[in-house]
C-alpha cells in the first residue's frame, strides 16, 4: 500500500468517467478539467516560454550589452565543443554528481537501516536528523565556512589536536571538491535517509519470517530481499538527487564561486559566468542546454525503470 504510486497512474476507481457518454455531454462539461487546469498551466508556461526560446537564442550572438543581435547558426555550439572549459565543466559536473549522489545514497540507506528498529532513541533521531535538509543549502554553506575557517573554526581547533594545521579546505584546488561534496552530503543525506526509512517501514513482514526460519545470513537477506523490495524507493531518491546535484549552483557559488581558479566550475556555473559575467547569452545557452538534455534523458530513463519496478511490485 505504501509503495502504491500515484504518478502516471492511468485510472483509479474514484474517477468520474466522462468519456463513456462523450456525445451527450455539452462542451463546457467536457472542457471542464482543462479549464480547471488552465491557470496552473498558463502560470508555468509563462515562465517556460522563454526557456523554449533558449534554443533559438543559442543560435544568435545575443548579448546583454547591446540590443542588436543576429543569427549566427551553430557557431556558439561549435566553439563550445572546441573549448577546454566545456569539457572541464562536464568533468566537474560528473565528478560532483558522483561524489555527492553516490555517498548520499550509500550513507542514507545505511543510516536508515540502523534507525529502522523502534526505540525512543531512534524515534528522536529520525526527527532531529531531518534538520540539515530543511536549511537552505546556501545558509548551510555559510555555517560550514564558519566551522572550517582556519582562524576561528571549530574544525581547525579539533584538527590541531591531531597535529594538522591550516587544512586548506575550499581554498586549495585539491580539496575544494571534497569540501563542496561534504557540505552537499551534510544537506542531502537526510533526504535519502527519509525516503529509505519510509521504504523500510513499508516492507512486508512475512518474507522476513520465512528467511529467518531458513537461517539465511543478514547480508544474504538484505541482498536478496530488502534491496529488491526497496528498489522503487531507491530509484525515486536517485532521480531527485541526480537532478539536483547535476545542476548544483548554490553550494558551489556560496563556497568559492567556482574557484579556486576553475576547479569547481560545473556546467551551471560556467553557463552563469558566460551569461552574466561576460553577458553573452548566446554563448552561455549551449552549455545549459547540454545540461538540461542530460538531466532530462537520465531522469526519464530512471523514472521508466522506477515505473517498471512499481508494476512488478504490484504484480506480486
Amino acid at each position: 500500500m505504501a509503495t502504491s504510486a500515484n504518478m502516471m497512474k492511468k485510472t483509479t476507481k474514484n474517477q468520474k468517467n466522462i468519456k463513456q457518454e462523450d456525445n451527450k455531454i455539452p462542451f463546457l462539461v467536457k472542457a471542464r478539467p482543462y479549464l480547471i487546469i488552465l491557470p496552473a498551466l498558463l502560470l508555468t508556461i509563462g515562465i517556460l516560454y522563454p526557456f523554449a526560446t533558449a534554443i533559438y537564442y543559442s543560435l544568435t550572438d545575443f548579448s546583454f550589452r547591446s540590443i542588436d543581435y543576429k543569427f549566427i547558426g551553430l557557431k556558439n555550439w561549435i566553439s563550445m565543443f572546441q573549448s577546454k572549459n566545456f569539457w572541464h565543466a562536464c568533468l566537474v559536473t560528473v565528478q560532483y554528481t558522483l561524489a555527492t549522489t553516490g555517498t548520499e545514497m550509500v550513507a542514507g540507506l545505511g543510516i536508515a537501516l540502523l534507525l529502522v528498529r523502534e526505540s525512543r532513541f531512534t524515534k528522536t533521531l529520525r526527527i532531529i536528523l531531518i534538520f540539515p535538509l530543511m536549511i537552505a543549502p546556501v545558509i548551510a554553506t555559510l555555517i560550514w565556512q564558519l566551522m572550517l575557517n582556519n582562524s576561528v573554526g571549530i574544525v581547525e581547533k579539533f584538527l590541531n589536536l591531531f597535529g594538522v594545521f591550516n587544512f586548506p579546505w575550499a581554498s586549495s584546488a585539491s580539496t575544494a571538491l571534497l569540501t563542496a561534496a561534504m557540505i552537499d552530503f551534510w544537506v542531502y543525506t537526510p533526504f535519502v535517509m527519509l525516503l529509505m526509512l519510509a521504504g523500510l517501514q513499508s516492507l512486508p513482514k512475512s518474507p522476513y519470517e520465512s528467511a529467518k526460519i531458513d537461517g539465511g545470513s543478514p547480508w544474504f537477506t538484505f541482498r536478496t530481499l530488502t534491496l529488491p523490495l526497496l528498489k522503487p524507493f531507491i530509484f525515486i531518491a536517485l532521480v531527485f538527487r541526480l537532478m539536483a546535484s547535476m545542476q548544483e549552483y548554490g553550494i558551489i557559488f556560496a563556497l568559492t564561486k567556482g574557484g579556486p581558479g576553475s576547479t569547481l566550475m560545473n556546467l551551471s556555473l560556467t553557463g552563469y559566468n558566460m551569461g552574466f559575467a561576460f553577458s553573452s547569452l548566446g554563448k552561455a545557452l549551449p552549455y545549459l542546454l547540454v545540461l538540461w538534455a542530460a538531466i532530462f534523458f537520465i531522469s526519464k530513463k530512471l523514472i521508466g525503470a522506477w515505473l517498471k519496478g512499481q508494476q512488478n511490485a504490484q504484480g506480486n
Partner: protein, 277 residues
C-alpha cells in the same frame, strides 16, 4: 553461545557508534552556529566553548541597519505569496488530475512535473532579459511568479494523491443532497485533504524560502531575500563571524520550526507524492 552473544553485542555497539558519529556530524554544526552567535568578536579567536555570552551580534544584525530585517520580510512576502498563488491555481488542478479522466491527462501532469528537470540557470537567463523588458525584474511579483516552478509542481503532485484517496461516493452523496459544487469543495473535500494541504503548503514554503538562484539573479537591491543577504556577510572586508552566525541562524530558524510541524508528511512531500510515507 558465548561467542554469539559477544558478536551481537559487538554489532550493537558498532551500530550505535555509527549512528552517534553521523548524528554528531549532522547536528553539531547547528549547535555550533547557535553557540558562536552569542560570542563577541574578540572572544571568537581565543575561546571555544567557555566564554561570556553576549547579545551584541543579534542587536547589530537585527536592529542596527534595517537590511536584514527587510530581507527577512521580503522572504516572507515572496515565499508566502508564491505558496498562496500556487494554492489558488494548484488545488483545483490537483483535483482535476485526480477526479477527471481526459485526453492527454498524464502528459499534462508530467509536463508540470518536468519543470523540475529544467536547470534553474537555463530558465533564468532568458527570463532575466524578458523581466527587464516588461518591468518584472526586482519586483515581488516577478519572484512570486518564477517561484511557481518550485511550489506549483510540488502542490499539484502531492495533493493529487490526497484527492485520489477520497472516495467519489462522498462527493456524490453531497451532490445529491443539493449542495452546489463550491460548497461540496469547501465543506467536504478541503477538510478531508487538510493535513496534506497544510503539510505540502509548508514544505513548498520552505523550498521557496531556501531558493537562492532565482532571487540572486532575478532581483537586485530592492527585493533582497535572506539567502542572498546572508552571503554578504562572507564577502565583506571586516569579518564579523558572530554576525554571520546570527544571519544564518535567523534564516534557518523558521525552517527548523516548520519542519518539526510537518515531519509526519515530509516523505510524501519530498518525493512529490511518489512515495507515501
Amino acid at each position: 553461545m558465548m561467542k554469539n552473544r559477544l558478536m551481537d553485542l559487538l554489532k550493537n555497539v558498532s551500530a550505535y557508534t555509527v549512528i552517534c558519529l553521523y548524528s554528531i556530524f549532522a547536528i553539531f554544526p547547528l549547535i555550533w552556529l547557535v553557540i558562536i552567535s552569542f560570542k563577541s568578536d574578540t572572544q571568537m579567536y581565543n575561546t571555544t566553548f567557555i566564554f561570556t555570552p553576549t547579545l551584541d551580534n543579534y542587536k547589530i544584525v537585527l536592529f542596527e541597519g534595517a537590511d536584514y530585517i527587510q530581507a527577512f520580510i521580503n522572504n516572507i512576502i515572496v515565499s508566502g505569496g508564491a505558496v498562496l498563488l500556487s494554492l489558488l491555481v494548484g488545488v483545483p488542478a490537483a483535483y482535476a488530475f485526480a477526479r477527471y479522466n481526459f485526453a492527454k491527462k498524464e502528459d499534462l501532469a508530467f509536463t508540470i512535473l518536468s519543470f523540475k528537470f529544467a536547470p534553474e540557470i537555463l530558465v533564468i537567463l532568458p527570463l532575466f532579459m524578458i523581466y527587464q523588458k516588461i518591468g518584472l525584474y526586482d519586483t515581488y511579483f516577478g519572484l512570486i511568479w518564477v517561484y511557481q516552478l518550485i511550489t506549483l509542481p510540488l502542490l499539484i503532485w502531492v495533493l493529487r494523491g490526497y484527492f485520489e484517496e477520497i472516495s467519489v461516493e462522498v462527493e456524490q452523496a453531497a451532490n445529491l443532497d443539493g449542495y452546489p459544487w463550491y460548497s461540496v469543495f469547501w465543506k467536504i473535500l478541503v477538510p478531508l485533504i487538510k493535513p496534506g494541504l497544510v503539510a505540502s503548503s509548508l514544505l513548498a514554503f520552505i523550498f521557496a524560502w531556501n531558493s537562492f538562484t532565482f532571487p540572486l539573479l532575478l532581483s537586485g537591491f530592492q527585493i533582497e531575500t535572506v539567502t542572498v543577504a546572508a552571503l554578504r556577510y562572507i564577502g565583506s572586508d571586516t569579518v564579523h563571524y558572530g554576525q554571520m552566525a546570527v544571519a544564518a541562524a535567523v534564516a534557518a530558524l523558521p525552517e527548523v520550526v516548520l519542519a518539526l510541524i510537518i515531519q509526519k508528511h515530509l516523505v510524501r512531500g519530498l518525493s512529490f507524492g511518489a512515495v507515501k510515507g
